[in-house]
Amino acid sequence: MSVQFSDTKLQEVQKMIARYPEGKQKSALIPILHVAQQEFGGWLSAETMDYVASLLQLDPIEVYEVATFYSMYNLKPVGKYLFEVCQTGPCMLNGSDNIIEYIGQRLNIKAGETSADGLFTLKTVECLGACGYAPMMQLGKHYREHLTKEKVDAIIEECRKNAAANN
């Protein structure tokens, strides 16, 4: 995959930079890394980070520093569907441990691993601000809340269908 934003993405990036005063384009780094991660395979390779550095006229190290600090950036490849399941106190009180175990069994992976077919990655995360709707996970842009085993089954099914349809 060649690392280069499309023209529409470049326009989006320019709009992000324009949110800040002259010369403060470094502030756009975190939002632009989100766009880059989404565009270039769901994770940030060194190549991607270097590209973002060149766009913002930063030293590559300034980008690496940031990319390694924030938990939403993936520094190695992930599956097409990333299940980010919350495991903090309030979710634990509502059975998140069982949900994490169940997802692991269903996909035959442990937290931090990707399924053999490359479709799913299971990641445990800390409180996502959905404690009243626990247990929960983030999938893409949205939250899936009040998880049960049945709901997990349905979500996995839904992902498999989407993946098949897109192939």
Partner: protein, 449 residues
Amino acid sequence: MGRKVLLEHAKIEGIRYYDTYRKHGGYTAVEKAFKMAPNDIVEEVKKSGLRGRGGAGFPTGMKWSFLAKPEGVPRYLVCNADESEPGTFKDRYLMEFLPHLLIEGLIVASYALGSNRTYIYIRGEYAWIVDILEQAIDEANANGWLGKNILGSGFDCQIYVQRGAGAYICGEETALIESLEGKRGNPRIKPPFPAVKGLWDCPTVVNNVETLAAVVPILNMGGEEYAKIGIGRSTGTKLISACGNINKPGVYEIDMTISVEEFLYSDEYCGGIANGKKLKACIPGGSSVPILPANLLLKTAKGETRMMTYESLSDGGFATGSMMGSGGFIVLDEDQCVVHHTLTLARFYRHESCGQCSPCREGTGWMEKILKNIEYGKGKTSDIDLLWDIQRKIEGNTICPLGDAAAWPVAAAIRHFRDEFEWHVQNPEESQRRNFGLAHYADPLAVNA
């Protein structure tokens, strides 16, 4: 029914969109504000007694009046929508359902403080809410509430949404500023305070989402009227996000005149403990504040009814009280294990420590390890004292309050539930099969201050 000034219209269909919001009295606070001098708005907020809703409870009007105003230097208002304290999900509710309320509050506050560029820093995971906010901002622009020369006042203002990328520490105001500058979220050493040297070294005010939304009813009804809601220095209403083992988890607006018991058991709010179980413990203000056993939650050590106010929740200090904090109300039923719950919080703080200060970086890791040993039947009695010692050495010895926030939950768990820790150590196998239960329930003498 308690008085509602923030969520009054939350359930109205279409209130997320401009036309409906406007029809229900939206943007009247902005109209009113532009007929006032900026300083008069600050005075109005002072009169209201509003205290910051982000956790620390600092008086908002006073904070605003500290903002430095050197000639020729821009000033910034930054809205803290990082909301990452476990148990807290109130700002999300406000932004998701009433985005224009926040935008309206931001316009008033920007005018009062002289901020021409105002930023909302939102936690990266709330990705869909970014769209909701940006749509509301577009609508406000299209209707003349933002942009150049708003309402002919000569005042220009634009609001931008900045997404974070997963870091609790970026809720701390100086870490947030660093992050907004495109850096790692390492808190700054204070002073200088943001009011003097904040975003891009310019004077900056950072306020919580709920704080800024509350500016709208304050302007609409007047500071004095607002101050009449509540008890004493706990003026106005507060959003509480309730979760854990209760019948009705969710976000509630309370006026600060009700008791904890009413909040927990009445059907208007939490609706009691789920599955007919008994209350064991509660963390009333987000994961950082001390956990309280049932008896101390409902009544203070003096035997008075505990109220949902800043003062009453902290009555008794850390020995027998807790804090209002961010309003994240976490309830544990009789089947829950305090050691396990505390372990998840210790893991959280270890994960979220930015690593700048050794007591926080190392201490949070040690606390997690020791708690893990105790929880999984490999602990020693001396470990409990060691835990106590570590948390004491973190508290007060770090650059930012995350260190304290990591220490307090561990301290309070040991203070009030030491028996449960000891039981784990003494019964390593049994503690893997069942929980300690309710030994402290309704036992006021179990408190070793």
